[in-house]
């Protein structure tokens, strides 16, 4: 937006027609009009996201006995969440599963994103659309699909038996952490591709041509130009997969069995079955804190690596 636009436009509107919108403005001027338009959305988010999350944070410092809530601030819930053996085991398992899922998803997504960014010339939008369709379909159904694929009497077992490759159904397919990893990695694949694709797409192709003219091999071009410049996208992909998967409830519940349950399943139990909201809140906040810490560390690490590579 040019300075001429920015200064002339509001005055002009006000002079020709001081309409309803500008009279409703909380503040006068350009910024005020923008903020007025943003107000409904921001107010909605404040009421339905900020207030509830602050409330959950408060809850994690309270205690509850049956239906009575004691509002004395205490760290007791956090102590239990961090020292209780089962909570600690679930938290570590969630971190490990999420970590493996993130790593696999991003590693597998990179070549795909690279392909669409560099080798698809005609139908880029179609490829992107094909990649994103599964992400729009019901998450529950995608997890359910893996349940019928991996089940004891499921698609994979029966298929392999029909083909004569195995004679007995394989029991280790479903209800374990590996099934959770496979299902999550599959469900979150499109999320990883898009940010990597965007950062690859933005790379100035003349840089690559210059490097080639100066005698760099394809491999060196990739390591010294393409990879470092695509790191922001890789980072985005890591965060967009890692943060939500750690709180996943559906996948561990449907395909994880008892060995594959994650922290979100325990949070659900505390809120809906054990009726210990404060402990559930402390678990949820702890998971968020851990995931944020890990994410921030990762960002720092990758940025440092990216700096060195250049």
């Amino acid at each position: 937006m040019s300075t001429v636009d920015g200064t002339a436009q509001p005055g002009q509107v006000a002079r020709t027609a001081p309409g309803i919108l500008s009279r409703l403005s909380l503040f006068s001027g350009e910024a005020g009009k923008g903020l007025t338009l943003l107000a409904p959305a921001l107010l909605f988010m404040a009421l339905l996201l900020v207030v509830p999350i602050v409330n959950t944070v408060l809850f994690s410092f309270w205690t509850q006995s049956y239906l009575d809530i004691d509002r004395t601030l205490t760290f007791a819930n956090y102590k239990e969440a961090w020292t209780g053996e089962i909570y600690r085991a679930l938290m570590i398992r969630s971190l490990v599963i999420s970590g493996i899922v993130t790593l696999t998803t991003v590693l597998l997504a990179y070549p795909m994103a690279y392909f669409v960014a560099f080798h698809v010339t005609q139908r880029k939008a179609l490829w992107l659309f094909l990649i994103t369709i599964p992400f729009w379909s019901s998450y529950l159904l995608r997890v359910f699909a893996w349940k019928i694929v991996l089940g004891y009497q499921g698609v994979l077992n029966s298929g392999l038996i029909s083909l004569g490759i195995i004679s007995e159904p394989l029991e280790f397919l479903l209800y374990n952490p590996t099934a959770v990893v496979i299902t999550l990695a599959h469900a979150w694949a499109p999320f990883a591709i898009l940010p990597i694709f965007v950062s690859l797409q933005k790379i100035d192709r003349s840089l690559l041509e210059a490097a080639e003219d100066l005698g760099d091999t394809a491999f060196r071009r990739f390591v010294r130009i393409t990879l470092p410049l695509s790191l922001p996208g890789v980072l985005g992909a890591i965060l967009i997969v890692f943060i939500p998967t750690i709180g996943d409830y559906v996948t561990p519940k449907l395909v994880g069995g008892t060995d594959g349950l994650m922290i979100a399943n325990m949070i659900q139990v505390q809120f809906l079955k054990a009726n210990n909201w404060p402990l559930g809140a402390a678990l949820a906040i702890s998971a968020m804190l851990i995931v944020t810490t890990v994410a921030v560390t990762l960002v720092g690490l990758i940025k440092a690596l990216g700096g060195r590579a250049r």
């Binding site: 309409g19 919108l21 369709i133 599964p134 359910f144 699909a145």
Partner: protein, 275 residues
């Protein structure tokens, strides 16, 4: 491209990888419709025979019909309300120079990266604390929260390429800002609005976690499907219901994509608005 002969083999291998990747992406989901037409109680090979009886059974389940109407009501309300909020927000962010632009945009996109269970339990606790009875209204409120980032993103790309001189012309001819917006701006961005409505409708229709925590005694379609997963005998009809939901989502999204592209073309985004 000056790729030359050296990298000739790489693209071929990469193409094979990409095609395989897409197939793996779709394969598990394809089994749902495949086995919904199979004349057997379990989802297993070999296929026994073609049947539509599992779909016929669906039409006789009253609980499923209730869940369907619940879902449609929630989805329509979510689509309309999140799109209206999105129109205001997108307009505010693209048309005016707002202080803290990046921060506000990040805040609106926040529900995209928060683990859904965090959003769900936080809403649940607040609602119960204030004595709000769980209902389809509470589900709708949660769905608007999740859908608004998508609505805002789609609508922002519509407003961004908008030719401001059209509005200025309207103002110069004596139209009030209100009527300029209704008669000039809205018709031009209409395809973007339709795309936003379709996308947010689909998000709500498919959403499970929020609905699971906040729906009380009125299940939406995904919550109903969840409740059926425990019963092996109902697997085939659940597969049929799942297939219908998949197909509906697919159609809705293709329609949304068409409108989104029409919008992108209208505001002159050559790349189809992906970047």
């Amino acid at each position: 491209m000056t790729g030359g002969r050296r990298s000739l083999y790489l693209p071929n291998g990469l193409t094979a990888y990409a095609v395989a990747y897409l197939m793996v992406l779709y394969l598990p989901v394809v089994f749902i419709p495949l086995f919904s037409f199979n004349d057997a109680q379990t989802a297993a090979f070999p296929l026994v025979g073609f049947t539509t009886k599992w779909y016929a059974i669906l039409s006789s389940i009253d609980a499923m019909h209730d869940a369907l109407w619940n879902s449609l009501g929630v989805a329509v309300s979510t689509a309309v309300l999140s799109t209206v909020l999105g129109i205001f927000a997108a307009r505010g962010l693209t048309r005016y120079r707002v202080p803290g632009h990046g921060g506000i945009l990040g805040f609106i996109m926040l529900p995209l990266v928060l683990p859904e269970i965090m959003v769900a339990i936080s809403l649940l606790v607040v609602l119960l604390q204030f004595g709000v009875k769980l209902s389809l209204v509470s589900v709708t409120l949660g769905h608007i929260l999740l859908a608004m980032p998508f609505a805002t993103a789609v609508l922002m790309s519509s407003f961004e390429g908008f030719d401001k001189s059209l509005e200025e012309a309207s103002a110069d001819l004596g139209e009030t800002p209100m009527w300029t917006f209704l008669r000039v701006t809205l018709p031009i961005v209409a395809p973007g609005i339709v795309a936003s409505l379709l996308i947010t409708f689909t998000i709500s229709l498919d959403e499970f976690i929020i609905a699971f925590f906040l729906s009380g005694t009125d299940p939406t379609l995904p919550v109903y499907i969840w409740s059926q997963l425990r019963f092996p005998a109902r697997l085939p009809s659940t597969l049929a219901l799942g297939s219908i939901l998949l197909f509906a989502s697919f159609l809705l999204l293709c329609a949304a994509e068409l409108f989104r592209r029409r919008m992108a073309k209208r505001v002159g985004q050559a790349d189809g608005g992906y970047l």
